[in-house]
């Protein structure tokens, strides 16, 4: 049975194991080869795998998702402990920053003006490149 433990920032583990134990949301689950397909969330905790040599390895995950297919088990680990209220606070902060920026802003987009500005900047760049080449 092949196991991949990956997080958004790096690959944690990839290799064959004979048994895997993970802290699923509904209680700890043990996955042996040929387990039925399963998708479940996992809680922050320890994931233990038993290698074919009988050696045990464990990783700490701060939550994530466990997916089981016929011969492949994938753990998509979160990079940090996440909680609904923390996410909410982050969202409010992001919104506030945007509103702050909005206060002194014009009402609608003037496409001609924007495009003129962009064209100017692009022209300046291509001019610089031309000057460079002609030298």
């Amino acid at each position: 049975m092949h196991v991949d433990v990956v997080s958004a920032e790096k690959q944690v583990y990839s290799g064959p194991v004979t048994m895997l134990v993970a802290p699923a949301e509904m209680g700890e689950v043990g996955i042996a080869p040929r387990h039925a397909p399963l998708v479940t969330r996992i809680k922050p905790g320890e994931i233990r795998v038993t290698l074919s040599s009988g050696e045990e390895q464990s990783f700490f995950v701060s939550g994530g998702i466990l997916e089981v297919q016929k011969s492949v088990v994938t753990i998509l680990a979160d990079t940090a402990i996440r909680a609904a209220d923390i996410d909410e606070a982050e969202a409010i902060a992001a919104k506030e920053r945007a509103e702050e920026a909005l206060r002194e802003q014009k009402d609608s987009i003037d496409f001609t003006q924007v495009q003129r500005e962009l064209a100017e900047a692009a022209a300046r760049l291509s001019l610089i490149q031309k000057i460079k080449k002609s030298k």
Binding site: E25, P37, L38, T40, A91, A94, R97
Partner: protein, 287 residues
């Protein structure tokens, strides 16, 4: 002909500028390497995630998530624009904004308004200046970004989608082609377009624990976050590459300027020596 001393000070000042640009070039080169490594490191997660999403999307779940079903009428769209925090990186941001504006224009021709979520200071400044409504922003991420830094901003736009305020979400960021080339890329984040793989079209479904809805909600949010994270990391690699190239050409330009000035300086020096000699000879002849 200008004063020899004046030219010498000018050469000195250009030399110190050149030193700075050279240092910046080297710093950018090393940061680019790190950013590229981080970019590579994010791939396994995104690949695995898209595999799982592919399975889930094709599995016969009784629950269809709103992120997977396109809406019939689209009135407003959200756009996540990933830019850099700092300048001095050539045309990187400008090209990206050009792409974003052309997308916004296309959408507005179909009577679709656009709200943006900006990541990076440059995008925030730009969209503020041109008057596009920004619903969330995050800046000052630094060179090592973490997913936690912008989950808030992503949540804002996903919430707006779930509440029906917006009907489509796009992500615009720079794609790292190679060190010399970075190209802006726009992808549709929501509704998700699952990969069409024939072998996945099997009639089996997962056991969902605790139930399909909670697991899918969780999974899809994580997937979108990972796509944005990937975009941000890739954009940083682009920023460093663009800055490296820009600083390299700045150093070269400074070198050329110094060479030109050196020539002028030599001429000025020669001229003053000749003049002095002529004066001495003239003086001697008079005596």
């Amino acid at each position: 002909m200008s004063n020899a001393k004046e030219i010498r000070t000018q050469i000195k000042s250009i030399q110190s500028t050149q030193k700075i640009t050279k240092a910046m070039e080297m710093v950018a080169a090393s940061k680019m390497r790190h950013a590229q490594l981080r970019m590579e490191a994010t791939r396994p997660y995104a690949e695995k995630m898209s595999q799982v999403i592919g399975h889930v999307a094709h599995a016969n779940s009784e629950y269809k998530h709103s992120f997977l079903t396109p809406r019939e009428s689209v009135k407003r769209a959200g756009m996540i624009v990933v830019s850099t925090d700092r300048g001095l990186c050539g045309g990187l941001n400008i090209n990206l904004f050009k792409r974003a504006v052309s997308e916004i224009k296309q959408l507005s021709e179909q009577n679709i308004d656009v709200d943006v979520v900006t990541i990076g200071k440059k995008a925030a400044e730009f969209f503020k200046r041109i008057g596009v409504k920004s619903i969330a922003n995050v800046a000052e991420l630094g060179d090592t970004v973490h997913l936690e830094d912008f989950i808030g901003s992503i949540k804002v736009v996903l919430d707006a989608y779930s509440e029906g305020q917006i009907d489509k979400i796009y992500l615009i960021h720079n794609k790292f082609v190679n060190t010399m080339t970075q190209s802006p890329e726009a992808i549709q984040l929501v509704p998700l377009v699952p990969s069409e793989e024939e072998e996945l079209r099997q009639h089996w479904d997962y056991i969902y624990e605790p139930e399909a809805k909670t697991v899918l909600d969780h999974l899809l949010v994580r997937y979108i976050e990972s796509l944005v994270y990937q975009g941000v990391v890739e954009n940083i690699a682009c920023e460093m590459a663009a800055r490296m190239v820009a600083m390299k050409s700045a150093s070269e330009n400074a070198g050329e300027l110094i060479d030109d000035l050196q020539l002028v300086y030599n001429k000025a020096r020669q001229a003053s020596i000749t003049q002095e000699l002529a004066e001495i000879v003239g003086g001697a002849a008079a005596v």
